[in-house]
């Protein structure tokens, strides 16, 4: 790490001779000033990140509502909200849909597509590679409100481009297959990250290893399995954890289907919004948020452990 210790001759050569007032870091900042530098950031983080997270734990234990009597004087109800959630089929429906969403669009869609693109383009240079990568990245960087509407237009029942291409006018993708629609949408939207990560990872696989495998007569699949995967195992795990976390917390399905029809694409992120802010059951919504926080925590701790073990 970069612990800053001035070499002794620098301190000796200090023209002001105020050695005692200076600490041993490079700019002579000293702990007090360093603390003052860190404080504003920590204050904001405490107020708008840590406090809300703690507050959600408390709210989840109350019957707080947006309007009505319980809004004025919320009461402590213990674990009632959590018991309600566990007994509520809508909650389980959302959990199940979220699992489909994460597995389908992140673990399968983005990872497989991202790796495939990185693998087939690994030895290429030039305009074709730049074109493919540029388009994939474009899907990732455009504002979510815009790309969501682009997909609404693409999937439109009557005039949409997809139905025109497939020759099936009148097929209502967003109404009849809402989950499939948001899974494919999110695969399209998020593949860039996996592609770039695997692109970087494949660059670290020693070409000599691949070469000797090829000389030994290994097929493409055998090279992948025996040479490439062992080298990039850490990257795959990092990639899986991060994109699962992001997809799990992604709110953009709301922009595409708003959870409908009839809650058939109401993933947990959308579920919280609907029960807490549309129906006003803040307490119950906070309990579901707590569950989301805990799941995030488990995934994040795994991820940080992985980072540490790499170092």
């Amino acid at each position: 790490m970069a612990q800053a210790i001035s070499p002794p001759e620098v301190i000796d050569g200090d023209p002001s001779g105020r050695r005692g007032g200076y600490s041993s870091d490079a700019a002579g900042l000293g702990r007090l000033r360093a603390g003052a530098f860190v404080a504003p950031a920590l204050l904001l983080i405490a107020a708008f990140l840590v406090f809300p997270a703690l507050w959600v734990l408390y709210l989840g234990l109350t019957n707080y509502r947006l309007t009505g009597a319980a809004a004025a004087e919320p009461q402590f109800v213990g674990l009632d909200n959590f018991l309600d959630a566990v007994a509520n089929p809508t909650f389980w429906n959302s959990t199940w849909l979220t699992l489909q969403f994460v597995l389908g669009s992140a673990v399968i869609g983005q990872v497989v597509l991202g790796f495939t693109i990185a693998w087939v383009l690994r030895d290429r240079r030039g305009p074709l590679k730049r074109l493919v990568e540029g388009l994939v990245i474009l899907a990732w960087i455009l504002p979510s409100a815009v790309v969501s509407f682009l997909w609404v237009a693409l999937l439109d029942r009557d005039g949409g481009t997809l139905n025109a291409l497939l020759g099936i006018p009148g097929f209502a993708w967003l109404l009849d297959h809402p989950m499939l629609s948001i899974i494919i949408f999110n695969t399209w939207r998020g593949t860039a990250f996996s592609m770039m990560l695997y692109g970087a990872a494949l660059g670290n696989v020693p070409p000599s290893h691949l070469e000797s495998a090829r000389l030994a007569g290994a097929s493409g699949w055998q090279q992948l399995r025996d040479v490439v995967f062992p080298h990039i195992r850490g990257h795959i795990l990092t990639n899986l954890l991060l994109i699962s976390l992001w997809t799990f917390n992604d709110f953009s399905p709301f922009l595409l289907t708003a959870g409908g029809p009839d809650g058939r694409s109401e993933v947990l992120a959308v579920h919280v919004y609907k029960v807490a802010l549309q129906s006003g059951e803040l307490g119950y919504g906070a309990a579901v948020s707590t569950i989301i926080l805990l799941i995030n925590l488990v995934v994040a701790v795994f991820y940080l452990r992985l980072l540490r073990s790499k170092k």
Binding site: P7, V38, L135, A139, F149, A276, S289, A300
Partner: protein, 273 residues
């Protein structure tokens, strides 16, 4: 040329063609419809009219919302850069007690407390503090969310810059604050620029927080106005949506091109929230 080689080539180009189609087709509408008079959902060859842009200019909320997006993203970026730079510098150069635990906690917090998990308490906090419909309030909330990752990335960056300049400046009697302003800031400028662009891009595209916290249509950024345009008022106004969507997207693309040209596109683990 063996048959296997030929098959491989055919397979490769088929795959590339499918990929290009998958990633291009959804975007086609965005580049054709704004230049088509009376656009439908169908992708058509545009007749290159500028009338749709005229309609955007005349819309009461379209251009103001782009201005709001700019205010929110630049305001947040400024706060994030200043605060994260000060904090990251102190954490990089001074061994404060509990520093490593603090950094670990920051990284953990930034990845688990997402908009989804915190929307209920943030909404309530904003109500209690009278920050609903306050752009400043939203900027503070967004800054709080972005700071941990920004501090973490900047500290990494500062760790890798040499300390010898600061030490020489000190030899010549510069005060710590002078050193930070005149020596450190120029040294880490690429890092600061990266954080600024990253923050701007994050806020520019953010939908959930402004949607929750700004109900006054005159204060809403482009993300919320786009959503309103296609969900409210019956028939979606495709002229507005396509053209406004394009105008709203172009700055992101330009920024991306600028960054990848100037610094090469490096990406960090926590870049997206």
């Amino acid at each position: 040329m063996t048959p296997r080689f030929v098959l491989g080539r055919i397979g490769f180009y088929t795959l590339i063609a499918v990929l290009l189609a998958f990633f291009t087709i959804p975007l086609l509408w965005l580049v054709t419809a704004p230049f088509t008079s009376d656009p439908t959902y169908e992708v058509r060859m545009p007749d290159f009219t500028w009338e749709n842009f005229q309609a955007v200019l005349e819309h009461p909320y379209a251009l103001p919302s782009l201005w709001n997006s700019l205010v929110l993203s630049v305001g947040t970026a400024l706060l994030v850069v200043v605060m994260a730079a000060l904090a990251a510098y102190a954490l990089s150069r001074v061994r404060l007690p509990g520093r490593d635990a603090l950094l670990y906690a920051l990284l953990l917090l930034s990845s688990i407390i997402t908009g989804t998990a915190a929307m209920v308490p943030l909404f309530q906090l904003a109500v209690e503090l009278n920050l609903i419909d306050s752009q400043l309030g939203l900027i503070l909330i967004l800054t709080g969310g972005l700071l941990p990752a920004a501090i973490f990335m900047l500290k990494d960056f500062m760790d890798s810059t040499p300390k010898s300049y600061e030490e020489s400046a000190r030899v010549f009697g510069a005060s710590p604050l002078q050193i930070v302003r005149h020596v450190v800031v120029p040294l880490v400028r690429p890092g600061l620029a990266t954080i600024a662009v990253w923050s701007i891009a994050n806020v520019w595209g953010n939908f959930l927080m402004p949607y929750l916290l700004l109900s006054d249509v005159e204060k809403q950024p482009a993300a919320v106005i786009t959503y309103t345009l296609y969900t409210e008022g019956g028939q979606a106004n495709l002229r507005m949506l396509s053209t406004f969507g394009l105008l709203y997207s172009v700055p992101v693309v330009l920024m991306y091109l600028f960054v990848s040209k100037k610094y090469g596109f490096r990406f960090h683990g926590g870049i997206k929230r």
